[in-house]
C-alpha cells in the first residue's frame, strides 16, 4: 500500500513539475523579451531591467527554471501587472469561490448521477432507461457555455427567477447563517449558485450517469453476483455489497481523471456567469496580458486539480483492496 501512495505522490509531484515547466517555457517561447512581458506594457526601462535581474535572464535556462520553481515554493508568484500587488494573495482570495462551485457541482453530480445510473442499469430498456439515455445524451452533447447562456436567457431574463451573474454570500457564511438563525444568508448564497452549478455539472452528470449504468450492468452479469444470490442473499445486500461496491471502482477512477475537465469547465462557467473565481481570473489575466498573474493562476489551479486527484486516488485505495496488497 505504501508503494501505491508513494507512486501517487511521486506522480503528483511530477505533474506539478511538468506544469511549472510548461508555464516557464511558454513565457520564454513567446515572442518578445520575457522581462518586458512580465513587467507589463507600462513598464519603464528600469522596471524591465529589474525584472530581468529577478528572473535571472542572464543565467542559463535550467537555472532560471530553478529560480522560478524556488520562488513558487516560497510563495512568490510575482507581481500582477494589472493590480500592481503580489499575485498569490489575489489568487488565494478567489479560491473559495471556485472551490464552492466545483465542490457543489461534484456533489450534485454524485448525488444524482449515480443513483440514476443504478436505476437505469437495474431496469434496462425500462422507462427510466430510455428517458435517462436521452437526457444523458443531451447532457454530454451540449456546450457548457451555451447551456449557461440559455439558462440565463430563460430563467433570469424571461422568468426573472434568479440573478444573471455574480456571486452572493459565500456558502460557508450562508451555512453558518442557517444555524445561527439567518436563513436569508443561505438563500442569498444559493440564489447565485444555482445556475452556475447546474451548468458546470451538466456534462459530468450525464457522463457519470452513463458510466454508472454500464459499470453496474457489467457487474450484474458477473458470476459471483449470481453465486451470491444463489446463497440466498437478499437483493438489497447483493446490490450494495457486491454490485455497487465493485461498480464504483471504475467510476471513481474516471472521476479522478475528469477533475481536470471539471476545473477547466469552471473557467468557462465562471466567465459566463461572472463568477469571481480563479477560473475567471485566469481568463481575465490572459486577455489583459497580465503574465505573472496568469502564470500563477494556472499553477494554482493545476495544484488544486492534482490535490483533488490525489484524494480520489486515496479513495480508490479504500475500495479496491487488491491495490493495498500489491
Amino acid at each position: 500500500m505504501t508503494r501505491y501512495i508513494a507512486r501517487r505522490l511521486g506522480n503528483a509531484l511530477l505533474v506539478m513539475l511538468a506544469v511549472t515547466l510548461l508555464t516557464f517555457s511558454l513565457l520564454h517561447l513567446s515572442p518578445g523579451d520575457p522581462a518586458a512581458l512580465m513587467a507589463g506594457e507600462f513598464a519603464t526601462a528600469q522596471d524591465i531591467t529589474r525584472m530581468s535581474e529577478k528572473l535571472g535572464l542572464d543565467k542559463p535556462l535550467p537555472q532560471q527554471y530553478a529560480i522560478y520553481v524556488l520562488n513558487l515554493v516560497q510563495g512568490d508568484f510575482g507581481k500582477s501587472i494589472v493590480y500592481g500587488t503580489p499575485a498569490l494573495p489575489l489568487i488565494q482570495q478567489r479560491l473559495p469561490a471556485t472551490l464552492e462551485l466545483t465542490l457543489l457541482a461534484t456533489l450534485l453530480t454524485l448525488a444524482i448521477a449515480i443513483p440514476f445510473g443504478v436505476i437505469m442499469a437495474v431496469k434496462p430498456r425500462g422507462l427510466a432507461d430510455y428517458v435517462g439515455a436521452l437526457v444523458t445524451l443531451f447532457g454530454v452533447s451540449i456546450p457548457s457555455f451555451w447551456l449557461g447562456i440559455v439558462l440565463i436567457l430563460i430563467v433570469s431574463v424571461d422568468l426573472r427567477l434568479l440573478p444573471t451573474s455574480g456571486r452572493g454570500t459565500p456558502l460557508v457564511d450562508g451555512l453558518v447563517g442557517l444555524v445561527s438563525g439567518h436563513p436569508d444568508r443561505l438563500a442569498s448564497s444559493l440564489r447565485y449558485l444555482v445556475l452556475p452549478t447546474v451548468t458546470l455539472s451538466a456534462f459530468q452528470l450525464a457522463f457519470i450517469a452513463r458510466l454508472t449504468r454500464s459499470s453496474v450492468l457489467e457487474e450484474l452479469g458477473r458470476t459471483f453476483v449470481r453465486a451470491a444470490r444463489a446463497r440466498g442473499l437478499p437483493n438489497s445486500l447483493v446490490m450494495t455489497k457486491h454490485v455497487l461496491r465493485n461498480a464504483l471502482m471504475p467510476i471513481v477512477t474516471v472521476l479522478g481523471i475528469e477533475i481536470g475537465g471539471l476545473v477547466g469547465g469552471a473557467v468557462i462557467v465562471e466567465t459566463v456567469f461572472g463568477w469571481p473565481g480563479v477560473g475567471q481570473l485566469v481568463f481575465q489575466s490572459i486577455s489583459r496580458r497580465d503574465y505573472p498573474l496568469a502564470q500563477g493562476a494556472i499553477v494554482m489551479i493545476s495544484g488544486f486539480v492534482v490535490a483533488l486527484t490525489l484524494l480520489v486516488d486515496l479513495a480508490y485505495l479504500r475500495l479496491d483492496p487488491r491495490v493495498r496488497l500489491s
Binding site: T223, A228, L233, S236
Partner: protein, 373 residues
Amino acid sequence: MALLEVRDLSTHFAIRDGPLRAVDHISFTLDRGEVLGLVGESGSGKSVTALSIMRLVDEPGRVVGGEILLEGENLLDLEDREMLAVRGQRIAMIFQEPVTSLNPVLTVGDQIYEALDREYYDHWRRGFLWGMAAAISRRLKPDRRGAKERAARAIELLRSVRLPEAESRLKEYPHTMSGGMIQRIMIAIALAGGPKVLIADEPTTALDVTIQAQILDLLRTRQRDADLAVLLITHDLGVVAETCDRVAVMYAGRIVETAPATRLFDEPRHPYTVGLRRSMPDADHKVERLTAIEGSVPSLIGIAESQCHFYTRCPFVMDVCSRVAPRAVIVASDHVVSCHLYGEGKPLPDLSGWRGPTAKSAGAATAPIAAQQ
C-alpha cells in the same frame, strides 16, 4: 415422493426472431442420496435448467411453464422473499468457474460469513435501510464474541472440505488461490446452510484433471455424509461414469433419455446417446476411429416444436421425426427414452449399425446455437 421433482418445465428467452426455447418441457426426479447427472453439449439447456430451479434466470429469460416441486412444494409459486429462504438453505448451487464465483475485492472469510450469518442478513431482507442500519450498528458496536464464533465455524467449514491452512485463508483474497481451492470453498459455502439438494453446474470443467478427481471425490464424500441429492451438470461423460447414479441426457432443450448410469453406458437407447457413447474412447473396446455425430446442434431460435430436434443428424431418422415431437417411452425399469423408434408394441431397435452421414445430415447443419447458458 421424490425430494425434487421437475415437471414439464419450460424456460424461454425473448429474442428478436422468436422465442428461444432453452428448456422445453423437461421432467425429471431427484431423490435423497442420489446423484443425477444432467448431460449435454453446450447450448443444450442444462445450465438454464439449473438456474430455472433456483429461479435465477435473468431477463430476457423467463420460466414459462411447468412445476418445480421441492418436497411437494412448487417453487414457482413462491414469492421472491420466500425463495430467499430456499436458496442456500434448501437448495444450493455451485458454478462452473470457481475463480469468478467469489467477489475479488472481498476476503474469502467475508464471503463465507455470508452463508453463516443468517440473522444479520435478515435485516437486509427487510430492505436497504434496515440493512444499512444493521451494518452501521455492527461497525459501531462490534460483536466480538459472535465474530469469534463465526470465525471458528468458518474454519471448521474449510477443514471439512480439506482446505489446508484454513485459518489464514479467511483473510485472503480470491486471486491468491487456485481454482481447485476456491471450488472447495464454494462447496463448503454451499453446504453451510444445510441444504438437501446441491446443484453443481460443471463444477470441474475449468479445473485440471487431477484436481477434477479430487473435487469429484470430495463431492461424493460430502454427499454421502449428508445424504444429499445432487444434480450434477456436465458435458463430460467420464465424470458421469464416475460419479452419477442416474443420468438424464439433454439435447436442444429437451431431455431425450433418462436411465441409471451403468445402463446408459451399457445399453444406450436414444440415437444421440448412442452417438455420444461411440464418440468416447473406451478402455474396453478398441476401435480404429471414433465415430463423430455429423452436423451440429440446430439453432433454438424459433425452432419448430413439432419435431424431434435431433432428426437432422440421426442415422435412424424416419419420416415422422420431422413432423411430430417424440413422447417419453418407458423401455425398462427406470429407463425412459423420447424417440420415435420406441413405442407401445414396437420391438426394440438394433442400433449397432451406426451408419455414416445421412443425406439429410450432410446439408442440415445450421447456425450454431445462440442460447444463453
